[in-house]
Amino acid sequence: MFNININSIIICFKHLRKTLFSNLFNTVITFLIILFIGVACFYTFEWLIFKANWKAVISNLPLYAFGSFPPKEQWRPAIWIISLLLLSIFTLCGPDWKWLRKNLPIAWVGSIPLGLYLLYGGLGLSPIMSRHWGGLTLTILLTVCSSLLSLPLGIVLALCRQSSLPLIKKLSSIYIDVMRAIPLIAVLFFGQLLIPLFLPVGIEIDRVWRAIFAFTLFVSAYIAEDIRGGLQSIPYTQTEAANSLGLNQYQIIQLILIPQALRIALPALTNQFIGLFQNTSLMAILGLVELLGVGRSILANPEFIGQYIEVYVWLASVYWMVCTIMAVLARHLEQRMTINQANF
């Protein structure tokens, strides 16, 4: 045991020497980097601990989490976020019981109605208008609702683009190409303005749902292209095999094509959803007070004026953390899917 350890350390050193100090140029670069890292770390820690004034962050923590949600009712979004967090932890390092693993997807889907119920209120909870929603809660709500809506729409669009019917194929490819050509902020801005114009008089949708619809329309075009890539990489023999088993066309699509395409497209879809999460920040310049919007309104407060760096560093680390959680969850899902495949 001990011998192996020493050997591995020697190998490690040899590897280091080979990669870091192979020639003079490389050695100089390595030392410069070490110096740079040292200086950067020193100044960062000095700033983080001594110079930075974290008052703008610490005294506003509930604002970052819940926006202007009435303080008495803030336990409701808190419960939702904590349950999402627990669900992630459970998915990642929970026990491997079969019934649990089977029911986890249901729990994930069920968390959305739960969140909406907790935010909207009604049925025993006092109702709260959507203009009071804000902060990280709103960011997560926008992300979760838009991704859940855009996934089926994207699948349908991808299937339509692969369809043998020329009209359907043409229409869906026009939609996808046009959506992919325009910037997201334009879709969101004109979504806010145009959606009410296309609705009959008297029917109104609030800002949050207009944003969710605009995000859905936009992201589904990108998801459609990712899934199309997945569909195209499925060998044609799969369809032939299914045909010879006597499955009809809908069964082939539902049981053979979509599961495989989703598995192949999963890394790309993860990137889309992480991108969607980051892009919800655009709503900050379009009048919703989500995470970045809260940051902006705090910076506009004369009490915290000029504390840009602290607020931005804090926001960046929150975004970074949630993105990392999403990426880790997706990698976990990917691994499970390949394990399932290996079992068959």
Binding site: L171, A181, I182, L197, V201, S281, Y308, A316, Y319, W320
Partner: protein, 299 residues
């Protein structure tokens, strides 16, 4: 499916779409009548009556909306092209550092890529603008012999002036895109078989010469399509200029929409200006791609 079944299905979908579009247009006309706005483009030639801080061509507030939009389009083009060049340069450097032999350098570039990719672009732009430029105090400017002049108004470089809005956008977009370009470059380099590296080393070529003469030409066909899509993303992301107050095509469109209330016309104009930008980028990249393929064939 049988042929007549197919035709029937398409016919049904056609009718459904017609009805849907009919209902939507009906709603739209009712709503437009209610607000008193019709649908026409004659307002484009009325005076815009707003000032623009930045205009590459002469512009005054008495010029027409159409001219203002064109100026905005030029402003967009200016920031897209300049950050495209800067991002490609930065991204290539980082991509090479990421794939290079020095593992510490690789680690640092991997960290750079993760941090940049995991934070929203809008936040980064605000950081560069409010912290990077407006954070510079009036008395804290760098001046080198009247040639290079950095202050919170921007940079003045031997007679050329760049506003701080433009520079913040340029830096933010370039750094954000460079992280994605670095990944494209890395993918391209990794797509070259290992045998090629071993072959040029055994031929006695130096590392840098082998990289330039052997590896990069073979990596380019894999890199160009990825680069094109990153450039298109860059063009779309440049519309976040509105957050730092740079008057690009979207910002001007936004102002006009708020001023005139003509959301549908403005949306159509924006759509076409972006189709034009996209066509410009894809065609240029297509020409570059063809040149590269050609030069490789006859070399």
């Amino acid at each position: 499916m049988k042929t007549n079944q197919k035709i029937l299905l398409q016919f049904g979908i056609c009718i459904f779409l017609f009805i849907l579009i009919g209902i939507l247009i009906n709603n739209l006309t009712i709503n437009l009548l209610r607000t008193g706005l019709g649908f026409n483009f004659s307002w484009l030639f009325k005076p815009a009556s707003f000032a623009l801080a930045e205009h590459p061509l002469p512009y005054t507030s008495s010029d027409s909306y159409a001219w203002a939009l064109f100026i905005g389009w030029l402003n967009s083009l200016k920031v897209i092209v300049s950050s495209l060049i800067l991002a490609t340069f930065l991204g290539t450097l980082i991509g090479f550092a990421r794939t290079g032999k020095n593992s510490l350098l690789g680690l640092i570039s991997a960290g750079y890529i993760t941090v940049i990719r995991q934070t929203p672009l809008l936040l980064q732009l605000m950081f560069w603008y409010f912290v990077g430029f407006l954070g510079l105090k009036d008395n804290m400017f760098i001046q080198i012999k009247n040639i290079f002049n950095l202050s919170n108004q921007g940079i003045e470089f031997s007679g050329l002036t760049f506003s701080s809005e433009f520079l913040a956008l340029l830096i933010g977009l370039s750094i954000f895109t460079s992280a994605y370009i670095a990944e494209v470059i890395r993918g391209g380099i990794l797509s070259v078989p290992r045998g090629q590296w071993e072959a040029f080393r055994s031929l006695g070529l130096s590392e840098s010469k082998g990289l330039i003469r052997i590896i990069i030409p073979q990596a380019l066909p894999a890199i160009i399509p990825g680069l094109t899509s990153q450039y298109l993303n860059l063009a779309k992301n440049s519309t976040l200029a509105i957050a730092v107050g740079y008057s690009d095509i979207y910002a001007i469109n936004d102002t006009i929409t708020n001023q005139t209330g003509r959301a549908i016309e403005c949306f159509i104009i924006l759509l076409f200006s972006f189709l034009l930008l996209n066509l410009l980028i894809t065609n240029t990249m297509e020409i570059i791609n063809r040149l590269i393929l050609k030069s490789q064939k006859y070399s």
